[in-house]
C-alpha cells in the first residue's frame, strides 16, 4: 500500500503545504520534519515556478523568494533524499506542468519514484491533458492527484472515477489564499465524488486555521493548508519550523476526531 493510501487509514488527514527554499532549503527540511513529527499525514512540497498562475499573493511571494535564492528542481530532489533519511511521511510535489515537462516528464517522474516522492499535484493539468503524464506515473507508482472545483459540476464523476491517491477538492473559486468564509456547497460535491469512487478527498484553498480545517475535514477526508504556513515562514524565516510544528499539531488535534 502506498504511503498516501496509508495516510488515509487512520482518521482525518492533515496536508500542509510548503514552498521549497523559502527562505532556504535547510529551513524547508526542518519545517517538513517538524510537520511530520507533529501529525502531518501528507506533506505537499511546492517546487517553485516563476509564474504560479493558480496561487494568490502569499504563495506567489514564496515562489519568487525561493527562486531568487537559487532553488532548482534538482536541489528539491536532493532535499527529498535528505528528508527520506529521517522521515517516512507521505510526500507530494506541487508544481506547474512546465517544471515537469521541461525537466523531461519521464525523467522527472522516475526520479520521484527513486527519491521517494509519492504523488504529483499539477494545478494546470486538467483531466483532458493528463495522458501525457499519467502512464509514467502509474508505472512508477506515483499518484497524479486530480482536482475537483466548485465549477466542475458534470465533470465530477468522470474525474473521480479515474482518481488515485486522493482527490484535491478546491473549496472556492479563485486562487490559493486565506479566506474568512467558504460558501461553496461542498457536501453535495463530495457526495457525487463518494458515489463514484473510494478514493479519499481532501479540501484545500482558503483554509487558514484549525477551526476551518475541522469544518472541512468533517465533510471530507482531510484538509489542506498552504498560505497560512507560508505566512509563518514570511514572518519568522529560519526560526519558523518550530512554530510551524506547533501549528501542525493544533490543526491535527482539531481535525483528528471530527
Amino acid at each position: 500500500m502506498s504511503r498516501i493510501s496509508k495516510a488515509f487509514e487512520n482518521g482525518k488527514v492533515f496536508i500542509p503545504f510548503i514552498t521549497c527554499g523559502d527562505p532556504d532549503l535547510n529551513t524547508t527540511k526542518e519545517a517538513v520534519l517538524q510537520m511530520a513529527s507533529n501529525g502531518a499525514d501528507i506533506i505537499e512540497l511546492g517546487i517553485p515556478f516563476s509564474d504560479p498562475t493558480a496561487e494568490g499573493p502569499v504563495i506567489q511571494g514564496a515562489n519568487i523568494r525561493a527562486l531568487a535564492g537559487g532553488v532548482t528542481t534538482d536541489k528539491v530532489f536532493d532535499l527529498v533524499s535528505e528528508i527520506r533519511k529521517e522521515s517516512n511521511v507521505a510526500i507530494c510535489f506541487m508544481t506547474y506542468a512546465n517544471v515537469v515537462y521541461s525537466y523531461g516528464a519521464e525523467k522527472f517522474i522516475r526520479k520521484c519514484e527513486e527519491r521517494g516522492v509519492d504523488g504529483l499535484i499539477l494545478p494546470d493539468l486538467p483531466f483532458e491533458e493528463k495522458e501525457e503524464f499519467k502512464p509514467v506515473c502509474d508505472e512508477c507508482g506515483i499518484d497524479l492527484i486530480s482536482f475537483i472545483a466548485p465549477t466542475s459540476e458534470g465533470r465530477i464523476a468522470m474525474i473521480a472515477k479515474e482518481a488515485t491517491g486522493f482527490i484535491y477538492v478546491v473549496s472556492s473559486l479563485g486562487v490559493t489564499g486565506m479566506r474568512s468564509e467558504i460558501t461553496t456547497d461542498l457536501p453535495s460535491i463530495i457526495s457525487v465524488i463518494r458515489a463514484n469512487t473510494d478514493t479519499p478527498c481532501a479540501i484545500g484553498f482558503g483554509i487558514s486555521n484549525p477551526e476551518q480545517a475541522a469544518k472541512m475535514a468533517a465533510i471530507s477526508d482531510g484538509a489542506i493548508i498552504g498560505s497560512a504556513i507560508i505566512r509563518i515562514l514570511e514572518k519568522e524565516k529560519q526560526s519558523a519550523p518550530k512554530t510551524i510544528g506547533a501549528f501542525t499539531k493544533e490543526v491535527k488535534d482539531a481535525i483528528r476526531n471530527v
Binding site: F49, S50, D51, T53, A54, G56, P57, Q60, I64, L67, T72, T73, D74, Y96, A97, N98, V99, V100, Y101, S102, Y103, P123, D124, L125, P126, F127, E128, E129, F147, I148, A149, P150, T151, S152, E153, G154, R155, I159, V170, L173, G174, V175
Partner: protein, 396 residues
C-alpha cells in the same frame, strides 16, 4: 487547421486549472454555434465595417518601393482601424460572443495597451463592465493608453507581480477569471492561451488576410510573394497569414522582437531562443531556463514583450510553412523613423519590426516581386518612448 482537441500539431491544448475547464468548454460550444450563425456574422460584419472602419486599406508604398529599389511594397493598414490597431477585430468578435453568452463583464490583459483600449472600447459600445490588467512597467511606458482605457469607462489594474509586464498581466487576468466566471468573459488578446482561444482569436483576425487576398488580386492580379507581420503572441501575424497558408508560393514571415539581440538575455524572440514548454494554458515554444522557469523577456515594444508564441505559429514553424526572424530594438526604431519620413506613416513600434525586416529583404528581391507588410497599429503611443530611446525627453 485546428484538431478537435484544440491542437496544432503537438502545440496548443488546455493546460488550465480545473476551475476554468467548464468555462472554456462553454466558450467553445458557444463559439461553434455562433460562428456559423448568419445573424451573428451579419452583426459582426456591420461592426467591422461601420464601427471599426473595415476593410482596412492595402496601400502601395511607392516611395518606399523606389527607395529600397527591389520588390513592390504594399502596406496593410490595420493602423487605420478604430482604436488604431488590429486588436479591435478580435475584441468586437469576442465581446459580441460574450454578450450572446449572457456575460456582462469583460476582463483583459494588455501589453502596449492596444488590446486593453480595444476591449474598453467594445465594453463601452456594448454596455459591459470592463477590467484591464496591465503590467505596472507597461502602465508607465504607455501612460496615454491607461488614460484612454479609464476615459472609456474601464478599470485598469497595474500588475506588480513577476516582471510587471505582459506575461504577468496574462497571469493576473487568468487568476481573476478563476475568481469570477459566472458573469465574466476573459477577452484574451492574442492567439494564445488554452483552446479555444487560439482558434477564436485567429478566426476573428483572419479578416486581415481575407482582405489582403482580395485587395492584392484586385491591384496586381496575383498573390504576393511574401506577407510580413510582427509576432508577439501572434494575432496580427496569424490574421495576416491565415488565408495564405494553403498558397504555398506565398512566403509567410513573422518578425519576433530580438530586443538587444538574440545572443543576449534581453530578448523576446521565442522561436529563435525558446524551447518547447507548457505555460498560460498551452503547449508551445517559450523563453525559459533549463528548469522551465519562464524567462524575464525584454523588448522596446511592450506589445511583443511576451515569452511565448501562439500554438499555431509554433506549428507553422515546425512544418516550415512560416519563417520566424528576429528584429532588434535598434532595427525596429530605424524602421519606425524610416516609414515616418518616407511614407508619412508612423507605425506602432511592434509593426516597425515587420517594416524593418521588409527593409532588409526587399532590396534583394526583383522588382516584379510583391511584399505585403501588415502595419498592425499606429505609432502615436510610442513617440515618447522612441524619443527617449534617442536620448530626448518629451513632455505632453
Amino acid at each position: 487547421m485546428t484538431n478537435p482537441n484544440g491542437r496544432f500539431g503537438i502545440h496548443g491544448g488546455q493546460y488550465i486549472p480545473e476551475t476554468l475547464m467548464n468555462a472554456v468548454i462553454e466558450l467553445e460550444e458557444a463559439y461553434n454555434h455562433y460562428k456559423n450563425d448568419p445573424e451573428f456574422n451579419a452583426e459582426l460584419s456591420k461592426l467591422f465595417n461601420e464601427y471599426a472602419n473595415r476593410p482596412s486599406r492595402l496601400y502601395f508604398a511607392k516611395k518606399m518601393t523606389e527607395d529600397l529599389g527591389g520588390a513592390k511594397i504594399y502596406l496593410k493598414r490595420e493602423d487605420l482601424n478604430h482604436t488604431g490597431a488590429h486588436k479591435i477585430n478580435n475584441v468586437l468578435g469576442q465581446a459580441l460572443l460574450a454578450k450572446k453568452m449572457g456575460k456582462t463583464r469583460l476582463i483583459a490583459e494588455t501589453g502596449a495597451g492596444q488590446h486593453g483600449v480595444a476591449t474598453a472600447t467594445a465594453a463601452a459600445l456594448m454596455g459591459m463592465e470592463c477590467v484591464v490588467f496591465m503590467g505596472e512597467e507597461d502602465t508607465k511606458r504607455q501612460a496615454l493608453n491607461v488614460y484612454r482605457m479609464r476615459l472609456l469607462g474601464s478599470e485598469v489594474i497595474p500588475v506588480t507581480s513577476g516582471t510587471a509586464t505582459l506575461k504577468d498581466a496574462v497571469s493576473e487576468a487568468m487568476r481573476e477569471w478563476t475568481n469570477r466566471i459566472e458573469d465574466t468573459h476573459y477577452c484574451l488578446g492574442s492567439v494564445m492561451g488554452p483552446h479555444p482561444f487560439p482558434t477564436i482569436v485567429r478566426d476573428f483576425q483572419a479578416v486581415i488576410s481575407k482582405e489582403i487576398k482580395e485587395q492584392i488580386t484586385e491591384a496586381e492580379g496575383r498573390l504576393p510573394d511574401a506577407v510580413i507581420a510582427c509576432v508577439g503572441g501572434g494575432s496580427n501575424a496569424i490574421g495576416s497569414f491565415y488565408h495564405f497558408i494553403e498558397d504555398k508560393e506565398v512566403a509567410l514571415i513573422g518578425c519576433e522582437a530580438a530586443g538587444r539581440g538574440i545572443d543576449t538575455f534581453e530578448t523576446a524572440a521565442t522561436i529563435n531562443t525558446g524551447r518547447l514548454g507548457i505555460f498560460h494554458g498551452m503547449k508551445s515554444y517559450f523563453c525559459q531556463d533549463e528548469y522551465g522557469q519562464i524567462a524575464p523577456v525584454y523588448s522596446i515594444s511592450a506589445g511583443l514583450d511576451y515569452p511565448g508564441i501562439g500554438p499555431e505559429h509554433a506549428y507553422l514553424h515546425d512544418i516550415h510553412r512560416a519563417e520566424y526572424v528576429a528584429v532588434t530594438d535598434e532595427e525596429a526604431v530605424e524602421a519606425f523613423e524610416y516609414l515616418a519620413k518616407t511614407e508619412g506613416i508612423i507605425p506602432a513600434i511592434e509593426s516597425a519590426h515587420a517594416v524593418a525586416h521588409a527593409m532588409k529583404i526587399a532590396p534583394k528581391m526583383d522588382r516584379d516581386k510583391i511584399i505585403v507588410i501588415t502595419v498592425s497599429g499606429r505609432g502615436d503611443k510610442d513617440c515618447a518612448a522612441i524619443a527617449r530611446y534617442r536620448g530626448e525627453e518629451i513632455f505632453e
